[in-house]
């Protein structure tokens, strides 16, 4: 029966391929959705990840960067610098706003940096300078490509016209692309006075980030201090929570569609082979053998569909950024495996239930015309 099942499936390659392609499209839809979500979630913490700070210090009560606003007095930076174990300190200002570039508007996190800071600026450059002087800006290379801008052109941040002096790499995402400008410029634009948003602290060898954060919290009044990894974890966790429900909905919809398509393909395969199944029953095959055959066909269609979807994902996803560089994608093997296991299991089981009418095939059919 197993042999018949596979043989009859491969006897009509067009039907097998179209059924599997249908399942593949349903899986691919979910995979792209997951990849966009994971890509964005990773990109959200890219800035923090790429700074050379062990501890991030911010306004008391604030423990995030994404969707958060933090302001603290800048005199706290030299006070932190005096704490034992602290080797370097840099402060940044940051706000989210809409930046005009090349006639288009881009949502961007504007980070104000000091030109002599040990960290906090762009970490990889496509072209130009990495540290902006007053009146200058470092914009993500993706923004420059999509806006048709290059070094020497200008962007507008609030009411300030800033000259592009550098194009940074890895700083663009839909949720928080990062534009670097001089801290003095941003302070004026934000009317921030003597305030900064975050203080980035580098510790000496031999002291853990956890201990350093604790020392800073004890030594400086009304600040929140988090080791870099904890800060990243909190930001990513929040980003994941923001989109987890929509991902769940999309996985449900995608899986239901895969069920529908696989079910339909197997159902027609079975209907088409009704006479052969009747013959099998007439020859003494039991219901469980026939179920096993249908199960195998459903599993084969789903597995092939899933395989095509994975191949499609790995082929399509590197191409998407070429057409739409603003989309950050990340395919995690873990999520692919999870989707595969859930999807194939659920769809195969549902198809198995749907195909129960196979067992109702009358062996007499084989003798009918």
């Amino acid at each position: 029966m197993w042999y018949w099942s596979l043989k009859s499936l491969f006897a009509e390659p067009l039907r097998l391929i179209s059924g599997s392609l249908g399942v593949a499209c349903a899986f691919l839809l979910v995979m792209v959705f997951q990849a966009v979500f994971e890509g964005e979630s990773r990109q959200i913490v890219a800035y923090i990840q790429n700074t050379d700070a062990d501890v991030w210090v911010m306004q008391d009560g604030v423990e995030n960067m994404h969707m958060a606003s933090s302001l603290l007095w800048n005199w706290k930076a030299p006070r932190i610098a005096r704490i034992a174990g602290v080797t370097e300190v840099a402060s940044i200002l940051y706000m989210n706003t809409v930046m005009s570039a090349g006639g288009k508007r881009w949502f961007s996190y504007i980070v104000g940096v000091d030109e002599n800071a040990f960290t906090g600026g762009a970490w990889e450059m496509t072209a130009g300078e990495a540290w902006p002087q007053q009146g200058e800006a470092i914009v993500p290379d993706v923004v420059a490509i999509l806006s048709g801008l290059s070094i020497g052109d200008t962007v507008q941040v609030l009411d300030a016209e800033l000259r592009i002096v550098g194009l940074s790499r890895g700083t663009f995402s839909m949720a928080n692309s990062v534009t670097f400008i001089n801290k003095k410029d941003l302070s004026r634009l934000m009317d921030a006075g003597e305030a900064v948003s975050y203080i980035l602290v580098k510790g000496s060898d031999g002291i853990s980030a956890q201990d350093l954060a604790a020392r800073i919290k004890t030594g400086v009044d009304k600040v929140s201090a988090l080791p870099k990894q904890q800060f990243i974890h909190r930001d990513r966790e929040m980003a994941l929570q923001m989109g987890s429900e929509i991902i769940r909905i999309m996985i449900t919809i995608g899986t239901l569609l895969a069920v529908l398509i696989a079910g339909f393909t197997v159902y027609y395969q079975v209907i088409h082979k009704q006479r052969e199944l009747a013959l099998a029953k007439a020859l003494g095959f039991r219901h469980r053998h026939i179920y096993a055959g249908v199960f195998l066909q459903a599993a084969a269609i789903n597995a092939l569909g899933y395989g095509l979807a994975v191949a499609g994902a790995y082929t399509l996803m590197p191409m998407i950024p070429l057409v739409a560089p603003q989309i950050s994608l990340y395919v995690s093997v873990e999520s692919l495996v999870r989707l595969g296991v859930i999807g194939i299991l659920v769809t195969t089981l549902v198809v198995f239930v749907l195909a129960r009418n196979v067992t109702r095939v009358d062996p007499v059919t084989v003798f009918q015309r």
Binding site: N64, R105, Q156, G193, R234, I327
Partner: protein, 376 residues
């Protein structure tokens, strides 16, 4: 031929229904994604328009509402109200905060208002009538199981939920409404007090204009009189938000919608392949009766068109139902499926998809042998 196809469909109502439902499911996904995209844009538009202003004053250079940080001078209000034709300028402040309950963190935007610009459509409870009260969006209430009378703490300051608002969310972020008295208390009583001078106190001014004044003319007059502000009609600001939303979400939604059309194509292709291969004998009979291959191919195309045409209303109902379930389960999202342009666009695309899909089994039809009718 159309009559023949319809008769054939009516002869097997169960099969026809099954086929239509399958196509409808695939089309419903397209409609859902289109509706989801439209919902994102509609939320951005609504957040601005629901503030109920004739004009909105922002910091100079700020062209958006939620997506930009706007900070106005405290005296801006007095300066704007001094312009002839301005009835009143109501202050409004937006403050992003993170609400955390049982280690689940949700970013939200606090909308601080005085007497205008507060919550619009309340589904439960009432507006703010006393101190330490807050009105929250239904999505926040659902996510953290908050209801009218629940306590919620933001930056250490305790509020009591007085009302739950519908559709007070945008950019995947719920809004919560408080008054200025509570904002000041929040700054003083919470952990933020040390740096209060730097905290945002005034983001926008909602201008009510006097009767008979032209909003565009007055906007220009305010801009001229108060140089450090920009003035927008609410519809302009809403358009800016929508344009930004399209830049942010458009590419990714286009990719997803494109894949869902691919999915649709596959579903209709499989169906047409199944339909044609199950009717090869009939096609053989028809060829024997003198039907040309070309006319049988037209049959396939027409049948695909009819099935898709029948499936579209089902898809619309399915998508509306699914959208309604999503909005009930996850009030943060708005799924606006029933927009004429979305339905029309999907209808046209569905016709193209069905025609393309119907070409897949054409080779089978071409190979259908009239002799099969005499076999078996």
């Amino acid at each position: 031929m159309g009559k023949l196809i319809l008769l054939q469909m009516l002869r097997e109502p169960g099969k026809t229904t099954g086929l239509c439902v399958s196509i409808a499911c695939a089309l419903a996904v397209v409609l859902l994604l289109e509706g989801f995209q439209e919902g994102l844009l509609q939320q951005l538009r609504q957040v601005v328009l629901e503030r109920g202003a004739d004009l909105i004053v922002t910091q100079a250079g700020v062209t958006n509402f939620l997506a930009s940080r706007s900070k106005l001078r405290q005296l801006s209000r007095r300066d704007v109200e001094a312009v002839a034709g301005v009835g009143e300028a109501y202050p409004l402040t937006l403050l992003p905060v993170v609400y955390e309950k049982r280690s689940r963190k949700t970013p939200l935007i606090l909308v601080v208002y005085d007497s205008a610009g507060g919550p619009g459509d309340l589904t439960m409870g009432a507006g703010i009538t006393g101190p330490k009260q807050i009105v929250i969006d239904a999505s926040l209430a659902a996510l953290h199981r908050l209801s009218v009378g629940s306590e919620m703490s933001i930056s250490g300051y305790r509020f009591t939920v007085s009302g739950i608002a519908r559709h007070a969310a945008a950019m995947f972020t719920p809004l919560a409404f408080i008054t200025y008295d509570d904002l000041i208390d929040l700054y003083f009583e919470s952990d933020l007090v040390g740096d209060i001078s730097t905290l945002p106190l005034l983001s926008f001014l909602l201008v009510a204009i006097e009767n008979g004044r032209d909003a565009n003319v007055l906007a220009a007059e305010i801009s001229a009189a108060v140089p450090d502000v920009d003035v927008f009609l609410p519809t302009e600001l809403a358009q800016n938000e929508v344009a930004l939303g399209k830049t942010l979400f458009g590419p990714v939604m286009d990719v997803l919608i494109g894949i869902s059309y691919g999915l649709c194509l596959m579903v209709v292709s499989i169906i047409m392949l199944a339909v044609v291969s199950s009717r090869l004998r009939s096609f053989g009979v028809m060829k024997a009766m003198g039907f040309s291959t070309k006319s049988l191919m037209c049959w396939s195309l027409l049948e695909a068109g009819i099935l898709t045409g029948l499936a579209l209303p089902l898809a619309l109902v399915g998508a509306l139902l699914a959208g309604w379930v999503i909005e009930i389960d996850q009030p943060l999202y708005l799924v606006s499926v029933a927009k004429p342009e979305i339905v029309l666009r999907t209808l046209l695309a569905a016709v193209v998809v069905s025609m393309v899909a119907a070409t897949l089994p054409l080779s089978l039809i071409a190979r259908a042998d009239p002799a099969t009718v005499f076999r078996d």
